[in-house]
Each structure stands twice: as C-alpha cells, then as structure tokens.
C-alpha cells in the first residue's frame, strides 16, 4: 500500500476524499493544499507502524506555477528521490483539429495559430505550406511573402526562446531573468502588433502568401530592435551563464542523450543539446532558408544547461536571419511585387486598408465590387463563403519550430474544407521524455527537467 499526498493544489487521487484527510482506496490521503508539510510528516510518523510509508504519491499540478501551464505530474517519491513520474495532459484540449474540419482552408489558419500560442507564426506557416503543397502552388508563392514568413518566424523564435529562458529562471527562483526576458518578448509582440495588427492569434500567414505587406515604419522598428537586441541578449547571458546557483540547478540535470532522443522522437534544442546539428532549416529547407547565412548551434552536454545555451545561441542566429531578411525587404522593389499568390481562385481579392473603424477591406475594393463589377462581387462572395477546392490527397510538411519539428499532416477529399489536419506538435512528443529525464533524480530536478523541455500546453493538447 502506498501513502498518497494530494498536495500543491492538485486534485485528489481516485477514490480519495474531496477534502481533508482520510482513507482512500489506494491508501491514506493527506490534503496539504496550503502546503503545511509538518502535519503530514507527523501523521506519517504516527502511522509508520501500520502502513508502508516508503513511497509517497504526489500530484504536482495541474495548477502549479512551475509546471508550465496545466500540466499534471504524478510523482512517486521515495524520500526526495523520484521513483516514478507520469505526466498527465489533456487539461487544455480545445479540439482545434476537429474544428478546422468545419471551416474553409483559409479559415483554418485562425484555428491552428492558437495551438502553440508561443509560436503562432510557425503553426500558421506549417499549415499554409501543407495547403500550398496540396494545391501544388509552392512555386507560385511570391518571393516577398516567403521573406516575410522567414522574418516573422525568426522574430517569433526569439520571442518564444525569451519565454523559455525567462520562465526557466523564474521557476528556479530568479525573477530578474524573467523580467528581463519578458521585456524583450514584449518588444517583439509590439512588432507583431505593428505588422499583423495583433499580439497573438495573428492569422498573418495565409495559404498563398501573407495577409498584408509591411506597414510604414515597420522596417525602421525592426532595425531599432536589431540594434538593441544583441546588447539585451548579452545582458541576459551575464545574469545566467556563470551564475553558480543557476549552474548548480541545471548542469548535469535532466540528462537525455542522442539515443534517448531518437527513441523518444525528441527534436529541437533538446536534440541539438546532444551534439547532433539536426535543424530542418538546414537539412530540409523551406521558405528559402537555404539562401540565408546562419549556423546551427549545438552543445554536447545532454543536460538542461546545454539546452539553455543552444536556445540563447539560436537567438543570435535568428538575429542574423532577421537582418538579412529585412535587408531584402528594404532593397529596391520591383513594380507589382505582391505578398499574396496572383491566382484569383486562391488569394482573396481584397486588399486590406486601415479605415476609421479599424483594419478592413480597402475602399477601392469595396467600390469595385459594390459599384462596378457584378462578377467581382460574386467572385468575392464565393471565395470568402465557400472557399477554394483542394485536390484529393495527403501531404506532410514540417518546419523547425522553437521546440523542434512541427509537422502538419493535411488530408483533402477534394472539398473546400480540410478533411483532416493533424499537427505533430514538438511539445507533445518531447514531453514524453520528462519521465526518462527525471526518474531516479531528486524532486527538485523535476522542475528544470520540465522547464528545459519548454512544453507549451496549448500545443500539447491542441
């Protein structure tokens, strides 16, 4: 028989009383939601002669500040050693994939952007690459749209890594790091707001291109960001890189080597932290990544500290890519250089413009469909309400998201809606590895193990 403690605000185990201490089906249950462990220890000592008190089952989560969102970890403890760890997920399942089957291919973007909410541009891009591959129009996506996608993805990568590093610090007790990192993320979100109109849930990348071109002043804002960011990154590194407390909590902690990564399907900074330079931007380029000059940072320590170093180094590389992309966008621009595919059967005809009541269809376009051309009105109506048809088939596309390989398996039955859109989210796959990393270690090391995976529950549960 095992003794259970339903602590840290988590739900009581099966058969346990809803509140207070009492007998459950699996053993004696102690409720310490307030965190008064002295009473538990005393009660355990009192009852030591009657029960097996060797093992303690603790529910960490689903509402716990250091489990990255609504993740529940069921820990079996022997003293302070974790003998068994079982992650429980599903608390943030929203049925995004199912909902997408009832909307048009274009509307799908507004759903999948909400999955991994720290990397929305990646979700949008991988989905749009899948739709374009199904349509067979990859070659017709305008160059400028691809450059914009790359630039936005790399900005997003830095924002995501800033959250990963910041919350990592916060969970180990370093609030300064969190504030510094989140401040930089805010600046990127400001850029996103300037370019897409929204701080998250952008729906910026659309099948065939992107929703709109850069607004005035966007390139200057990006330049300003590029100017200050290296200094900010150096400042962040000076707080973390050689901090003895941070090193003690992360070095040789949450070990997972290359064989483990392969078996568990782990990709991203965790895989590159084992020394394998596997990055889809290099190995299977998309959106023209082969034309940018950047490196794939690796570490060979296989531990939480190595993953942190990979992430900060990736931020430096992302800055290089953003600089090259913004140079291309700023260069001399040919006449009629669109950001959306020219095929009028796929790209929405409306040009967006900022009016008195916010962003919407441009007055020129409204005047054209309402006053001049009946056919244009019909076409607009059909394309927006019915959507375009996609030939029968299935494709799988993958991009390198901040957390690893983000894949999209899209199936079409020839209709105007996705028959099935499945996202192979790296958080979901990588989170399986937390047991391999933390079992046999101390309970305190569970926190850096989860944080070094950087799971985003929106992506895990979708």
């Amino acid at each position: 028989m095992t003794t259970q403690a339903s602590g840290m605000g988590g739900p009581a185990a099966d058969g346990a009383p809803a509140d207070g201490t009492g007998e459950g089906t699996e053993g004696r249950v102690y409720n310490v939601a307030g965190g008064d462990w002295d009473e538990v220890v005393r009660a355990l000592q009192d009852g030591a002669d009657q029960e097996d008190t060797e093992h303690l089952v603790v529910n960490m989560g689903p509402q716990h500040p250091s489990t990255h969102g609504v993740l529940r970890l069921v820990l079996t403890l022997d003293g302070e050693t974790v003998t068994e760890l079982r992650p429980v997920i599903g608390y943030l399942h929203t049925g995004i994939e199912k909902s997408m089957e009832f909307r048009t291919w274009t509307q799908g973007v507004t759903f999948c952007t909400r999955a991994d909410y720290l990397a929305p541009i990646f979700n949008e891009t991988v989905y749009c690459l899948a739709v374009e591959k199904l349509l067979g129009v990859e070659a017709e996506v305008p160059e400028r749209a691809s450059i914009l996608r790359v630039m936005m993805m790399e900005l997003n990568r830095i924002a995501s890594h800033m959250t990963a590093i910041g919350t990592f610090g916060l969970e180990l007790g370093a609030t300064t790091v969190f504030l510094y990192a989140v401040r930089e993320r805010e600046r990127i979100l400001d850029l996103f707001e300037l370019i897409t109109g929204l701080r998250m849930n952008h729906a910026y990348v659309r099948p065939g291109g992107v929703s709109q071109d850069l607004p005035r002043g966007a390139l200057d804002a990006i330049r300003e960001f590029l100017g200050r960011m290296p200094h900010q990154l150096a400042e962040l590194r000076s707080l973390m890189d050689a901090n003895p407390l941070y090193l003690a909590r992360t070095k040789n902690v949450a070990y997972l080597d290359l064989a483990g990564c392969m078996a568990l399907g782990v990709t991203g900074p965790l895989l590159r932290g084992t020394g394998l330079p596997w990055d889809l931007r290099k190995s299977q380029p998309y959106c023209g990544y082969e034309t940018y000059d950047f490196e794939v940072p690796t570490q060979d320590t296989c531990d939480a500290y190595g993953r942190y170093l990979v992430r900060v180094d990736e931020c430096d590389e992302s800055l290089k890519i953003i600089e090259q992309a913004s140079d291309r966008l700023a260069g001399p621009r040919p006449e009629n250089d669109p950001v959306m595919i020219s095929d009028p059967k796929i790209g929405w005809p409306a040009k967006l413009a900022l009016g008195g009541d916010g962003l919407g269809n441009s007055p020129d376009h409204i005047a054209h469909i309402m006053g001049q051309s009946m056919e244009a009105l019909i076409h607009h109506f059909k394309l927006v309400t019915e959507g375009f048809r996609v030939p029968v088939g299935q494709v799988y596309t993958a991009v390198e998201s901040p957390r690893g390989e983000l894949g999209c398996h899209a199936v079409s039955d020839g209709g105007t809606r996705p028959y099935r859109a499945h996202f192979r989210d790296p958080s979901f796959t990588n989170l399986q590895a937390v047991a391999a990393m933390a079992e046999g270690g101390m309970i305190a090391d569970v926190i850096p193990a989860v944080a070094s995976i950087d799971p985003v529950m929106g992506g895990v549960d979708r």
Binding site: G90, L134, S283, Q394, G415, R420
Partner: protein, 241 residues
C-alpha cells in the same frame, strides 16, 4: 458497354480504362452540392459521383523512392517474405512516398526501416489517424511519418483497417515515441493498438464516451444570434464538399 470490342475500334487508352473501372465503384455523392433538404437548383441534380478507385503508382517511383523500395524488398525477401506480401500498394504523390502496409506486417516493416543501414529511418514523427467514412471496409487509417536523419529522407507508412475490426499492432516496441501518439489516436479515432503498454485516453477525460475526431461524431455547437439573425452552429452550415 459491350463485351466484345469491334476490331476497327482503337484500343482504349489508360484514361478510358480508369473511367470504366470507376463505373464499378460505389456512388458517394449525388447532385451538385449533396443537398438533402431542398431541391438542387444547379441543374446537376442527376449527377452521380462515384468513389475513385484506390490509386497506386507503378515503378519507377523516382527520386530516392526506388532505392528505399529496393532496399526494403531485399531485406523482406531475405527474411522469407516479399515486398508485395507486406506492402499492399505504393503511392507517390506530391513528392512524397507512401507505403500502404498490411497490418500484420507493420511491426516487421517498421523494424527493418529503422534498423537496416540503407534505410535507417531512425525518427518517427508519430501516428496520425484519419477516418475515411466513405472508404467502406477500410475506414480507419493510421498514418506514420518517418524521418531518416542518416540519409535525410522522409517516408510515410499507412495502415488501413475496417471500422468493425479496428486493431493495429503497436509499434511502441520499435519507436517508443509512438506511445503517446497511439494513445491519442485511440482516444480520437478508436483504433486499438494491440500490444501498447497502457492504451488509455490521453486528451479526453477517462470516462468520455465516443471518439471525437471520427467523422460520425458531431462537432456540436450552438446557434449564434446577431442583430436578430441566427447563424447556425458550424456543423449545420452548408457544406460544399
């Protein structure tokens, strides 16, 4: 269609043969929009759309696909089997190779794909289920996306099983990463992965009834009222497929 072809008529070409083959398939849709409640005013009310026969790609497949197929054939034959015995059909579409594997051979094929140096598909991207409601007798598909880091290649395995017997052998023994993916596919589609260490629901609550991503499971939703007009829930809106 007459049984005998007159001698002066030219040999039917590939497209004509494919068309004739399709006439033997079942009807999947009638009319232009598949409307049931109101009349079809499109003028195509008598249209009958038949299911396309399952496609397959003949050799050569192109790209690295022939090399993969050759290496797999050689290894399967060395083990006393054959390529055609394990793989129902091969589809090359949009630059992607799909092997439709018979379920009883799935684990053996996956193991060869992972272990044999000329194949070396070390990484599995997990399982994705698809419910083809109209594909009678093989409604549920489990789709595996494999990556070879050694050769920088991709490959898709697909297993189809009937709804009445939704059993697929688990590949967790070959690719441990499929553990959660198979649980997810069981949860959403009801495909039973035999040999999985703990096949339980993962996203839905443990006591949930049904498998929500199946096509016969309703989306649900409530009508939305806006300025006196009512917008029906998404699954009751007109569909154009």
């Amino acid at each position: 269609m007459s049984e005998k072809t007159p001698p002066n008529e030219p040999e039917p070409d590939e497209a004509a043969l494919a068309g004739r083959e399709r006439l033997n398939e079942q009807v999947v849709r009638t009319g232009m929009f598949g409307t049931q409640t109101t009349g079809d005013t499109s003028g195509y009310g008598g249209l009958q759309v038949r299911r396309a026969p399952p496609p397959f790609t003949p050799r050569p497949y192109g790209s690295y696909f022939d090399e993969v197929a050759d290496a797999l054939t050689a290894r399967l034959e060395a083990d006393g089997g054959g390529f055609d015995e394990a793989v129902e059909r091969v589809i090359v579409d949009r630059g992607e190779l799909t092997l439709h594997v018979r379920r009883e051979h799935l684990v053996a094929v996956a193991r060869l794909l992972r272990d044999e140096p000329p194949l070396a598909f070390e990484l599995c991207g997990g399982v994705s289920g698809v419910h083809y409601l109209a594909d009678v007798g093989r409604e549920l598909h489990a789709v595996y996306h494999l990556v070879s880091i050694t050769h920088n290649r991709r490959l898709r395995l697909e297993v189809s099983v009937p709804d009445a017997d939704p059993h697929v052998p688990s590949v967790v023994s070959v690719y441990p990463t499929c553990n959660w993916h198979e649980r997810e596919t069981w949860d959403f589609f009801g495909i039973v992965f035999d040999g999985h260490p703990a096949l339980t629901r993962i996203e839905m609550p443990d006591d949930w009834k049904g498998h929500p991503q199946r096509k016969d499971y309703p989306l649900g939703g409530i009508p939305v009222e806006y300025r006196g007009a009512t917008v029906p829930p998404p699954d009751e809106r007109r569909s154009y497929t």
